[in-house]
């Protein structure tokens, strides 16, 4: 009994040393083991620094400069921001973008969800239907836009001809201030809903069948099953797609650029379209950078919410 105690004493006094040496060795060993990881991490961080973070920082700085790229840039303080807020189109662009985002949420958020729920009920031709829904995503955006411009053509266009068949008056889809934004949202929804639908379908597939069986046994109708089983089960994924949708739709550009050029009467000028004009039509990169900083901050807010929501669930 004593021996172990006796032997333990010197050992215990020596323990910190031995343990310390072992720790160091282990740490060194761990570092060596992880060297590969550090190398990859370093390369990755370097890539981000060069291609992602440095342009962001440079963009922030450009917002306070007047630049020509031929001569050194001059610092102008808040001048670009002052000019930005003075531009009457600045507010119009944000209002229009907000309106687009709102409409896109009504259509773009509901349509894929409903489609996914309906598609999930089909027992036959599932693969075919999924492909059909996904097909528009595979079209290059410019092709989609040109195709829809023909749909919207008030003369020989598809939509007005359908309306004519139904004895309804034709519409000025893109030419009317009231309809133009809605028309752009419809194109955007059609073009992008395939991806979201597939995400919902995957999520629907992961809902345990027993929940539905139990609900059915309790005599729940389809509507009740949807309300009490499907939606609660999909709540997290719905929240994520909602935020992604907000971040995505706030950057709408190609639809107004190709289809309306911001018209009629600035009804479809969006933040990104205005930013594009500042940068590439007026060649005013300082002003464009100030605008992009404002957009960055607003999107950053939503991205922050997204990160917070996904943190625990990863």
């Amino acid at each position: 009994m004593a021996a172990p105690t006796l032997t333990r004493t010197p050992t215990s006094s020596a323990e910190p040393r031995t343990a310390g040496g072992g720790d160091q060795r282990r740490r060194r060993c761990r570092i060596r083991e992880n060297l590969t990881a550090y190398a990859f991490l370093g390369a990755g961080l370097l890539c981000f620094a060069v291609f992602s973070w440095s342009p962001i920082v440079r963009g922030l700085l450009l917002g306070f400069q007047q630049v020509s790229f031929a001569q050194p840039a001059t610092w102008v303080g808040w001048e670009n921001y002052r000019r930005l807020f003075d531009d009457p189109l600045f507010l119009t662009a944000w209002k229009n973008t907000g309106y687009f985002t709102l409409l896109a949420l009504v259509f773009g958020f509901a349509a894929p969800f409903v489609t996914a729920v309906v598609l999930n009920e089909f027992r036959h031709a599932r693969a075919y239907l999924r492909m059909t829904v996904y097909l528009p995503v595979m079209l290059p955006p410019i092709v989609t836009m040109l195709l829809w411009r023909w749909f919207y053509d008030p003369g020989p266009g598809l939509f007005n001809n359908v309306l004519k068949l139904l004895h309804l008056p034709g519409q000025q889809w893109l030419e009317s201030e009231n309809l133009a934004m809605l028309s752009l949202v419809l194109v955007s929804t059609w073009a992008n809903m395939g991806t979201t639908t597939l995400i919902y379908l995957a999520a629907l597939g992961s809902i345990p069948g027993e929940l539905y069986e139990a609900a059915e046994l309790d005599g729940a109708s389809i509507r009740r099953r949807l309300w009490h089983v499907t939606i609660p089960q999909l709540r997290f994924i719905l929240m994520i797609t909602l935020l992604l949708q907000i971040i995505g739709t706030m950057q709408v550009f190609i639809e107004p650029y190709v289809m309306t050029g911001g018209g009629p009467d600035d009804a479809t000028v969006t933040v990104l379209l205005l930013l594009y004009r500042y940068a590439f039509v007026y060649n005013d990169f300082g002003l464009a950078s100030a605008m992009s900083t404002v957009l960055f901050l607003v999107l950053g807010l939503f991205a922050g919410i997204y990160l917070r929501l996904t943190r625990g669930k990863g």
Binding site: E33, L35, T36, A39, F40, G42, A43, L46, C47, V50, V67, S68, F69, A70, Q71, P88, D153, P154, G155, P156, G157, Q172, L174, E175, S176, E177, Y257, M259, T260, G261, G262, G263, P264, D265, D266, R277, F280, V281, Y282, N283, F285
Partner: protein, 452 residues
């Protein structure tokens, strides 16, 4: 295990090195030539491979130039000045030494110091004194220095479909000379039915503002004028109101402008190429585009001078020089531009070579010179003409009597505002011209306040 780890580490190191190496290479500068006194210059404006004939001729010209100028090497690139990449190319040191620009660009480029001053080198350039002063003015800065050379020119007129004119009972050799005649002709053409549009115009992506400017010029008005050293908007005028009244009446009263609006140049060219459009405002340079893209014939189209008999908008293109280029490169670049583009001595040779290969010769374009030099070029074009020059007679004769006006300062910003005016009158039946013009004038005054 050790081997695998070692190998993994090696790969990781390799990836990191490759990235570092790649980045280092990105920062590299192209070397300045000149060991044996040979200057290499990069130039753009080379036709793309999709235009094999033009490309072949360009390459032949490069060879011929290098032969006659043994101390200069040409490194030719495709493309022209693209606003989307211009600043990035300049910032990254990738901009060509000699770059192609439209007449709308030089003022801004000069103001921002993005073009080299070539004044000391042009004085000795052959035919420099023969270049029309109004085109050199486009490349002259507020400091009186020269920053570029023109190489192409157009004035807007009325491009029309001769076949549709005939079908509508109009004389294709006597196109409309006033806007009222345009209105009447448009009515007859639209009456052909089957989606035929009498007259179409642009209203999108700044092209509406560009054409509104031309409309106002043709009505005897102005977009911006300089008074006491300050620029002010000038289109809130009788000319501006007449423009909007005419457009409104053609669009809404006569219904001769089609129901689809928010058009831009390619939409309208498509309508013309499909044989569904009677007339639109354009320069003669539009005809080869329509003929090539839609496989039409030159005989089908005519060009009339800008209706109204007052003035027309003129534009064009030219070359400017990289502000970071050395004097040797600028000198070599000027040699190239003069030899290739401003050279009456080579006109006959080039026309002869091109005339049999579908390259249009004889369109009323590119009259860049005055006096004898222009006469020589005209004679060569007439000799090798392969397009129906008679179809352009109304344009050539009428255009000579019109005042040629250039675009207003800060044109692109102003056009954004004027796009809205065009859109309003073409998409809203109850658009109020007075209100539209006065509101737009206020905005344009703000834009012009920054012009020095």
């Amino acid at each position: 295990m050790a081997v695998t780890q070692g190998r993994r580490r090696l790969i990781a190191a390799g990836v990191a090195c490759a990235l570092m190496g790649g980045l280092a290479a990105c920062g590299g500068q192209s070397s300045e030539a000149g060991k044996d006194g040979v200057v290499t210059i990069t130039v753009n404006g080379m036709p793309p491979k999709t235009q094999p004939v033009d490309r072949k001729y360009f390459e032949e010209d490069v060879k011929a130039f290098e032969k006659s100028h043994p101390k200069i090497r040409i490194d030719a690139r495709e493309g022209q000045m693209d606003p989307q990449t211009f600043s990035a190319k300049l910032a990254g040191g990738q901009l060509e030494d000699v770059y192609y620009v439209y007449f709308t660009d030089p003022a801004g480029l000069i103001q921002r110091g993005q073009g080299a001053d070539i004044t000391p080198y042009v004085k000795s350039m052959a035919y420099y004194d023969d270049v029309k002063p109004e085109f050199l003015k486009v490349f002259t800065g507020p400091d009186g220095k020269i920053y570029g050379l023109p190489n192409g020119q157009y004035s807007l007129g009325l491009v029309y479909n001769r076949d549709l004119f005939k079908k509508a009972g109009l004389d294709p050799d006597k196109p409309p000379a006033t806007w009222e005649e345009v209105r009447q002709a448009a009515k007859k053409i639209s009456a052909l039915g089957d989606g035929t549009v009498g007259y179409a115009d642009y209203s999108k992506n700044n092209q509406g503002g560009w054409h509104f400017t031309s409309w106002v010029y043709s009505m005897g008005g102005d977009i911006a004028v300089r008074k006491d050293g300050r620029w002010k908007a000038a289109f809130d005028s009788e000319a501006g109101r007449n423009t909007l009244r005419m457009l409104h009446d053609m669009r809404w009263t006569d219904d001769t402008m089609g129901s689809r609006q928010l058009l831009q140049i390619d939409d309208v060219q498509k309508m013309m190429g499909a044989g569904k459009l009677g007339m639109y405002m354009a320069g003669p340079d539009n005809i080869p585009t329509i003929v090539k893209q839609f496989e039409r014939k030159y005989e089908e189209y005519g060009v009339a001078a800008m209706p109204g008999g007052r003035a027309t908008l003129g534009g064009g293109n030219g070359f400017m020089f990289n502000p970071k280029a050395s004097p040797e490169k600028i000198k070599a670049g000027i040699e190239w531009v003069q030899w290739k583009y401003l050279n009456p001595d080579r006109t006959a040779l080039e026309d002869k070579r091109a005339s049999g290969n579908g390259v249009p010769i004889g369109l009323p374009l590119d009259r860049l010179f005055t006096g004898q030099a222009q006469a020589e070029q005209d004679a060569a074009h007439a000799m090798y003409s392969n397009v129906p020059q008679g179809n352009y007679k109304p344009f050539v004769e009428g255009n000579a009597r019109l005042e040629q006006k250039v675009e207003p300062p800060n044109a692109q910003q102003i056009y954004t505002v004027l796009d809205g005016v065009m859109q309003a009158v073409l998409t809203k039946k109850d658009a109020d011209p007075d209100k539209l013009l006065s509101e737009a004038a206020k905005k344009v005054d703000g834009i012009l306040a920054t012009v020095k």
